[in-house]
């Protein structure tokens, strides 16, 4: 249990400030709009549909080596944003470019630069970490034997026993699965890594391990990372800059310190989020 003294200033958990302003822009999103149409009733012959905007006129850019956090509650548009960057969605309006390559027009080139970790460790659950990682590595052109050596080194670093490497993933804890997912993403040395709530549902120890690993890999690979989360301490610890997203719109952007300052002296990042968005991060996803 954490006790807080009313009015006491919140501790500064922010990532150490790194000046990345001289580095090149890797990801550039301008006026991104993506909506979906859902059946809302009617009959089989005359169905009725409701349109909703999951991402609504979002613009931002991210520099090389930066960890950029997108904070918002469930249903706020974080995953849609990640899917648009992953080449899995075609925007209704606006552009998403990576190193100047458009994710729709230059899809094949963009895919070589990207990898991703999603909230659910999306694996072939019957396959072992070895089989999942080698499959993925080969898709990205890496030699199977080299990939096996690299994967083993990475997974040992994450605390996996060698025998776990050969057991079905379904027998592993969710924390371990998520570590394997991160190892998979970085095995192909991506230049941009999209982390979509990578620590959601993990116990504190696993969450801390994953966060350490993300920082380590960022430095090792000079990777640019987009992190979506609704975990405030995680965002403060990892992200160089943070954007608040609510109802598909970016409502504020800056370093953790800048965002806290927007809410007033002594306020936490969560206070700032509630004040700026009028939402509580813990709210349940609307169906």
């Amino acid at each position: 249990m954490t006790l807080t003294v009313p009015g006491a200033p919140s501790p500064d958990l922010s990532a150490p400030h790194r000046d990345l302003s001289a580095r090149e822009i890797v990801l550039d999103i301008r006026g991104l709009v993506k909506g979906f149409r859902k059946k809302s009733g009617g009959t089989l012959l005359r169905p009725q549909f409701a349109d909703s905007r999951a991402v609504d006129d979002v613009s931002f850019h991210v520099r090389r080596g930066e960890i950029y956090g997108v904070l918002g509650p469930n249903g706020s548009g974080k995953s849609t944003l990640i899917r648009a960057m992953s080449t899995l969605l075609i925007p209704d309006a606006g552009t998403v470019s990576i190193f100047g390559l458009d994710v729709v027009r230059d899809e094949a080139q963009v895919r070589r630069l990207l990898n991703r970790v999603s909230v659910d460790a999306a694996f072939y659950k019957k396959l072992s970490p070895r089989e999942n990682l080698l499959y993925s590595a080969q898709l990205y052109g890496l030699d199977r034997h080299v990939a096996e050596q690299r994967a083993l080194v990475t997974l040992r670093r994450l605390g996996l026993k060698d025998k776990d490497f050969y057991e079905p993933l379904e027998e592993m804890s969710r924390g371990m699965q998520q570590k394997v997912a991160i190892a998979r993403a970085f095995l192909t040395s991506p230049i941009v890594v999209l982390l979509d709530e990578p620590t959601t549902g993990l116990d504190p120890r696993s969450r801390r391990d994953v966060q350490e690993f993300v920082l380590e890999l960022r430095d090792l690979h000079d990777a640019t990372i987009i992190l979506t989360t609704h975990d405030m301490p995680e965002a403060e610890r990892l992200c160089d800059r943070i954007a608040f997203i609510s109802g598909g719109k970016f409502v504020a952007e800056g370093t953790a310190g800048e965002l806290r300052a927007l809410a007033g002296p002594g306020k936490s990042l969560e206070d700032a989020f509630i004040e700026l968005t009028g939402e509580d991060l813990a709210k349940e996803e609307t169906p």
Partner: protein
């Protein structure tokens, strides 16, 4: 002020990695699908065992109708149909359901964002599906040999295998077109592919000549590669006549027209399948269907 875009970075030289866009890169990616499907089959071995055993028993049961009728020609015709459908049906099913499998496993987004062309994807899935379907067809064939004297020479069997291989091209393309359905509808797509497979079983005359179909249905049999593959194999085995006895079989040279039609099927359906699949993929990206839960 922002720094302008840098040109796309050149990945650090890595001798263990193929260069994107090269044939070696696409070949390695195709083999990745073979690697994955081999291990999935191995891990799901009990299901594979059950389905293979079911295939063998149902094929033998069908063939025994010919034995009961004291008709060696009918027996071999039924045997041929059972083995061929075991092969082509499985091949079609594996390709058509490849998207459904991805949805069930929750990996569809990862596969579709990998730097792999859809052709490479199809080649990889088809390579394993072809080998797996062939192995099951051979097992069915050997199992039926436990019940009857098969009455075909090794040369005839090998020539029929050649026909199977050529026929598989058309089924790959049709399978790819059917794979569009699970892209479009998570709930009903997989079931729809089973309906398509069943229709092909009906119209191809797998266990009977097409001439016994109702007159309105007979022309439809022309759209199935299996119709021509069966015609070719029946000629090779000498069971294309009537009555109870075999006719002299023919060599591959005598079934060149059928082989030509089968090659044409492949030449048309594979590019068409890729085109249709590409359109469906674009549609899924516009509507947000290209995700695990559809």
């Amino acid at each position: 002020m922002t720094t302008p875009h840098a040109p796309p970075p050149t990945p650090a030289p890595d001798p263990a990695r193929t260069t994107p866009g090269t044939l070696a890169h696409q070949l390695r990616a195709a083999l990745a699908f073979v690697f994955r499907d081999y291990h999935l089959t191995r891990r799901y071995w009990s299901w594979v065992l059950v389905f293979t055993f079911y295939d063998m028993v149902s094929a033998a049961s069908i063939m025994l109708i010919g034995v009961a009728a004291h008709n060696p020609r009918l027996t071999l015709t039924l045997l041929l149909g059972a083995v061929m459908w075991s092969f082509l049906g499985r091949l079609f099913g594996e390709i058509a359901n490849s998207i459904s499998y991805e949805r069930w496993e929750g990996t569809i987004e990862y596969t579709f964002m990998a730097p792999v062309s859809r052709l490479t994807h199809l080649v990889g899935v088809s390579l394993f599906a072809g080998a797996y379907a062939l192995l099951r067809g051979v097992l069915v064939f050997l199992f039926m040999g436990l019940f009857v004297d098969i009455g075909a020479t090794l040369g005839q069997v090998v020539q029929c295998l050649v026909v199977f291989m050529v026929a598989s091209l058309g089924f790959m393309g049709i399978g790819l077109m059917a794979a569009v359905l699970p892209v479009m509808s998570t709930e009903n797509g997989a079931q729809a592919t089973n309906i398509i497979q069943a229709v092909f079983l009906l119209i191809s005359g797998v266990y009977y000549p097409v001439s016994v179909l109702p007159a309105w249905l007979q022309p439809v049999s022309a759209i199935s590669p299996a119709t021509y593959a069966l015609d070719a194999c029946r000629k090779i085995l000498g069971v294309n006549g009537t009555g109870t006895t075999f006719q002299p079989g023919v060599g591959l040279g005598a079934v060149l027209p059928e082989l030509g039609i089968l090659l044409a099927f492949g030449a048309v359906t594979i590019p068409l399948g890729l085109y249709v699949f590409g359109k469906a993929e674009t549609w899924a990206k516009r509507t947000g269907k290209l995700k695990r839960a559809g």
